[in-house]
């Protein structure tokens, strides 16, 4: 057995952290996650970082935390799905005995920090074909995909709105969620248009904050006495990056590839899944991902999410912390999907917030503009 165990998870403060930078938030989340695992910084021999606004970010966080000769340094940047992909990379390294305690970390100040540079002379060879169109990214990129899905399959704005409504129901039970007031489908449809067909409430929040997950070997997990929440399957791929016109099929994401691979590796099928954490940068992201992961047929995402399928008490509890739509979204949400999955599988919550007898959680990260896809199957081992 070489499955890495998710021994500890934590967020930094979320929402607005004007007195922190991305490294502060990543570091605070890291030490909190280590504390959750019963470890200290001196135990850490690996660090995996994505999404920090810096060059050589894994080295920076390792320096900041004064790690002592870490042997695993990972900074592969594939957007919001990086952290799910890291679960595989850490697992491979652990199987080779190259790392024993690895921290996957993220931090940002997307809300209060400096904005993107807006140089008018576009020297980037691909961006020169994208920026002069004025496409409002990321929402406009997702809107292009959503519009094509509506054209091919009859998906409606109301179908997309159902996802925002169900997710908000979960957020209402999370004290850390930024948006907790119940909403209706009409609220979503009537909210400010952003990039049609997406309205404001189809779009994720913009937040500050960080998150971290501590992965340890099985022997270390036994020593720590933590619940054995294991990486049972993982797969990653990509379809495009910068230019939506390069996405081979606007209505199919890489999840169509990674889902079946990760499920096979974990030896599960859809009936085994107790809950899901699906990257919800936009409502459409969820709809297409659920289809591509095989929870319903292609084109039937709209009817699948109707009537609270993913809401509390629904058939497939999803984004049980309120998601990027209502809880927080500091920019790379993938790490927060893992954090909530672990808490659910450990049974940390009470009442309706806790999914009963949760043993298997599917976590799916999406990066870029539907560009990268990483699926992780987490399982509470017995």
């Amino acid at each position: 057995m070489t499955e890495p165990i998710l021994a500890g998870v934590a967020e930094s403060d979320l929402g607005e952290t004007p007195d922190r930078n991305w490294l502060d938030n990543a570091a605070i989340a890291t030490v909190r996650a280590l504390d959750d695992a019963g470890c200290t910084l001196s135990d850490v021999d690996g660090v995996a970082v994505a999404g920090g606004r810096d060059y050589m970010q894994a080295l920076l966080l390792a320096e900041y935390l004064a790690l002592d000769e870490p042997t695993f340094l990972e900074g592969t940047e594939i957007g919001g799905s990086s952290f799910e992909a890291f679960c595989g990379h850490v697992g491979d390294a652990m199987a080779q005995g190259r790392v024993d305690v690895a921290v996957i970390a993220y931090g940002s100040t997307s809300k209060t920090g400096p904005g993107r540079s807006r140089e008018l002379k576009v020297t980037h060879p691909i961006e020169g074909f994208v920026r002069p169109t004025g496409l409002f990214r990321p929402p406009g990129a997702y809107a292009l995909a959503a519009r094509r899905h509506m054209h091919e399959y009859g998906t409606t704005k109301a179908d997309l709105a159902e996802i925002a409504v169900s997710t908000r129901e979960w957020a209402a039970m999370n004290p850390k969620a930024a948006m907790r007031e119940p909403i209706t489908v009409d609220d979503v449809l009537e909210s400010r248009p952003i990039a049609d067909p997406l309205t404001l409430l189809d779009c994720c929040l913009v937040s500050d904050g960080g998150g971290a997950v501590v992965l340890v070997s099985e022997s270390k997990a036994t020593e720590l006495g933590v619940p054995p929440i294991a990486v049972a399957g993982v797969a990653s791929t990509m379809t495009h990056r910068q230019d939506m016109s390069e996405m081979p099929d606007l209505t199919t994401t890489g999840a169509a590839v990674t889902g079946s691979k990760a499920f096979t590796e974990a030896g599960i099928d859809h009936d085994d899944v107790d809950l899901a954490q699906i990257y919800d940068s936009f409502t459409y992201t969820v709809l297409v991902t659920l289809e591509d992961l095989g929870f319903c047929e292609k084109g039937e995402g709209g009817s699948f999410v109707a009537d609270g399928t993913t809401a509390p008490g629904g058939e497939l509890p999803m984004n049980t912390q309120g998601g990027g739509l209502s809880y927080c979204h500091p920019g790379h949400f993938g790490v927060f999907l893992l954090i909530e999955a672990v808490r659910q599988l450990r049974g940390d919550y009470t009442g309706d917030r806790q999914v009963n007898d949760a043993e298997v959680c599917v976590v799916h990260g999406t990066g870029g503009v539907l560009s990268s896809s990483s699926t992780v199957v987490l399982r509470r081992e017995t």
Partner: protein, 141 residues
């Protein structure tokens, strides 16, 4: 084919492409109203221009002139400006246009937002936005 090139240099305050490397021939041709794509001898067609063919790996696959005709593969109506200089343009339409030759490109549609449909036939015109580049913009045909 060559399409109309409208001089928008005075009124354009949005981003402008800076030609470099393998895309330099593309932008140079836009000044004459010509829309280029790359068509490799292996049959692969690609846009944006690249130094290698994404099908067979050949270096510097040759350019071909497109007829500038296509359809709206998908579109979005941007109600919030996505770039500097677009504040006064909202709502504006951005589309993935599929050329009849096959390649797709992202482009502004110069059309009323209410008039756009998926699969709508469109044709290219060029807006000259700098001394060295004219951007392809599509209009209904």
């Amino acid at each position: 084919m060559t399409a109309a090139v409208l001089d928008r240099r005075d009124e354009w305050d949005g981003p402008v492409p800076v030609p470099s490397g393998s895309n330099a021939p593309f932008w140079e041709a836009t000044l004459d109203g010509e829309l280029l794509y790359q068509r490799c001898s292996c049959g692969t067609k690609q846009l944006y221009p690249r130094a290698v063919c994404s099908g067979c790996g050949a270096v510097d696959p040759p350019f071909e002139s497109s007829d500038g005709l296509g359809t709206v593969h998908s579109y979005t109506v941007c109600h919030a400006p996505g770039e500097p200089g677009f504040d006064t343009r909202t709502p504006y339409v951005v589309a993935v246009v599929e050329l009849l030759e096959g390649p797709r490109l992202l482009a502004l549609l110069d059309v009323d937002a209410d008039a756009v449909t998926v699969e709508m036939p469109v044709e290219v015109v060029f807006w000259r936005v700098s001394d060295v580049a004219a951007i392809p913009v599509f209009v209904p045909r």
